[in-house]
């Protein structure tokens, strides 16, 4: 039975987790012995079973498993067809798409940078142009993978006191949503050309950066989020509360940051159709460039995006409960399974508090038996 994860740094982070009793399973811990003999102390089989169970299969690692498509090209007529497909994809589609992509970037740079640098930042027309250009550039991106995206539900509107939350599979989630609405995002700053784009372009939309490795960062970011949501001219804010890319079959726990801003939370559910391509970006296994290359050499990226009804904090509901409620809505809509783990466990070890809990239960039972002797 999986247990709720904790981010491993300051005690402030502990406030992030939902009620542990909902997830902890008492039958998974060391059996509480009725009597105390040598046998009860030597029999460590429950603990070993749990460890072996975790080695063989665990609900956290499952969230980040890329699912390579099964090879189907194993006979006389399918194999040549597949080869033909490869030729078409790499030899015809890819160069065409790359051409479109490059052309799009050129047009974008030629129009964006003059607007960005020549007009003062107070100019409303400049912001409008920047938004339109970013939306256009994202459409170019989507075209470069032959994206077939079905949007369901009302288009996001430009007004304050709302924040959008979505499940996260890859950085292309952002591009797909940005195509129709110029959101401001909160993202981890990346190195390389992606970082350059983040600084040069996304900042103009009002984006906010965070740094996973800095614990003090949280307060600063929380303040910036609050300020952004209040400004009437700011672009709507898009947040991925999972904090990391997950493989589009599961959702990990939502961080409560987006849910304690005192405004409406508009859930967005994104589901990719795996038949065409596995859109999960396994950032530990491939760079973003490789990921884009894979997308550009596939047939299409097909996905559904659902804009769900805006939600408000219910009276008596904590932000964490609110986050779980919204995660539930998104998971149900996109057909994803929920797991009770914190996405940050991809980068940090679980808090020792969880191990201590197990130790305490066993120690208490032994001490109790000792007293009764």
């Amino acid at each position: 039975m999986a247990m709720a994860g904790l981010s491993s740094s300051s005690s402030e982070m502990d406030l992030d987790r939902p009620i542990l009793e909902d997830y902890i399973s008492t039958d998974s811990i060391q059996r509480i012995p009725q009597t105390l003999h040598l046998r009860e102390l030597l029999d460590i089989s429950p603990t070993l079973t749990e460890a072996a169970g975790a080695i063989i299969d665990d609900s956290f690692t499952r969230c980040f498993k890329s699912n390579p498509p099964e090879p189907w090209n194993w006979n006389v007529y399918l194999f040549p067809l597949w080869c033909l497909g490869v030729v078409v994809r790499y030899g015809i589609l890819f160069p065409l798409r790359l051409a479109v992509f490059i052309a799009g970037w050129i047009v974008f740079f030629l129009t964006f940078f003059p607007v960005h640098f020549l007009l003062p930042s107070s100019n409303k027309w400049r912001h409008k142009m920047e938004r339109i250009l970013v939306e256009m550039m994202c459409s170019v991106f989507v075209a470069s993978w032959t994206g077939v995206i079905k949007y369901h539900g009302p288009q996001p509107s430009m007004r304050p006191h709302q924040v959008f939350v979505a499940n996260h599979t890859s950085m292309i989630d952002f591009i797909i949503l940005e195509q129709t609405t110029a959101f401001a995002v909160i993202m981890q700053k990346h190195p390389g050309w992606v970082g350059f784009i983040q600084t040069a372009i996304l900042e103009s939309l009002g984006s906010i950066w965070f740094n996973r490795t800095e614990s003090k960062d949280r307060e600063v970011v929380a303040r910036k989020l609050r300020e952004h949501v209040q400004g009437p001219d700011n672009n709507p804010l898009l947040i991925f509360p999972e904090g990391t890319c997950v493989n589009n079959q599961y959702t990990v726990m939502f961080k409560k940051g987006a849910f304690e801003l005192g405004c409406a939370v508009c859930p967005v559910a994104i589901k990719y159709n795996k038949i065409f391509v596995d859109a999960f970006w396994n950032s530990k296994k491939q760079s973003f460039s490789m990921h884009l290359f894979r997308l550009m050499t596939s047939w299409a990226v097909v996905c559904d995006v659902w804009f769900l009804e805006p939600q408000y904090l219910k009276p008596g509901e904590t932000p964490i409960e609110f986050a779980e409620r919204v995660r539930d809505m998104i998971s149900v809509r996109a057909g994803l399974k929920k797991v009770p783990w914190d996405g940050y466990l991809k980068y940090f070890r679980p808090s020792p508090k969880l191990t201590e809990q197990k130790q305490k239960i066993f120690a208490d039972s032994v001490l109790r038996r000792l007293e009764e002797k």
């Binding site: 102390l41 460590i44 089989s45 603990t47 079973t49 460890a51 063989i56 090879p71 130790q359």
Partner: protein, 175 residues
């Protein structure tokens, strides 16, 4: 990662199956191989301690450090052999042997008071004092006819744990 099943030939599967005394079916071995490849991030041929610790459920197990010494750096064949103790088909003797090896982590062939104390410390952490732990151990040892200075052998483990038996099984999920 690639297609795991295509890099594992029928010969490989049979070799691994033989090495673990047929305690796993061929499908289970294929499933375990996929898992092994998933955990072994850069296809080194073994799983490092760090990669085991990236499994949150394993990391928070009180005996994780002790187990790491047993599984760190194992190749796939030995990985399967280690896990075969958890198969439903494994004998009670096999399971007890694994428990013995966890206690006797340095492979002396006997379990000393120090080993018992170490495991108990892992299981109880800071919630029992060292004195309390020693007290409990001495008490149960003497009750069973041993002393603090006794060296406990595998046969002793078998004697103590055989009745009413052990339940130590994990199912390998097969697609």
């Amino acid at each position: 990662m690639g297609n795991a099943s295509s890099t594992l030939t029928q010969y490989d599967i049979e070799e691994v199956q033989e090495h673990c005394n047929y305690l796993f079916s061929q499908q289970e071995i294929v499933a375990l191989y996929e898992r092994f490849c998933q955990l072994d991030r850069n296809a080194k041929g073994f799983i490092s301690a760090d990669e085991f610790l990236s499994i949150p459920e394993f990391s928070l197990n009180p005996l994780s450090q002790r187990l790491l010494k047993m599984v760190d750096g194992l190749n796939f064949k030995d990985f399967v052999a280690f896990l075969s103790a958890f198969s439903a088909k494994a004998s009670l003797q096999h399971k007890i042997e694994l428990i013995f090896k966890v206690y006797d982590i340095d492979g002396k062939g006997q379990v000393t008071f120090k080993d018992l104390l170490e495991v108990l410390r892992d299981l109880t952490g800071s919630f029992m004092s060292e004195e309390q732990r020693e007290h409990v151990l001495v008490w149960v040892l003497e009750e069973a006819g041993y002393t603090r200075n006794s060296s406990i052998l595998l046969d002793d483990f078998v004697k103590v744990l055989s009745s009413p038996g052990l339940k130590m099984e994990v199912e390998v999920p097969v697609d």
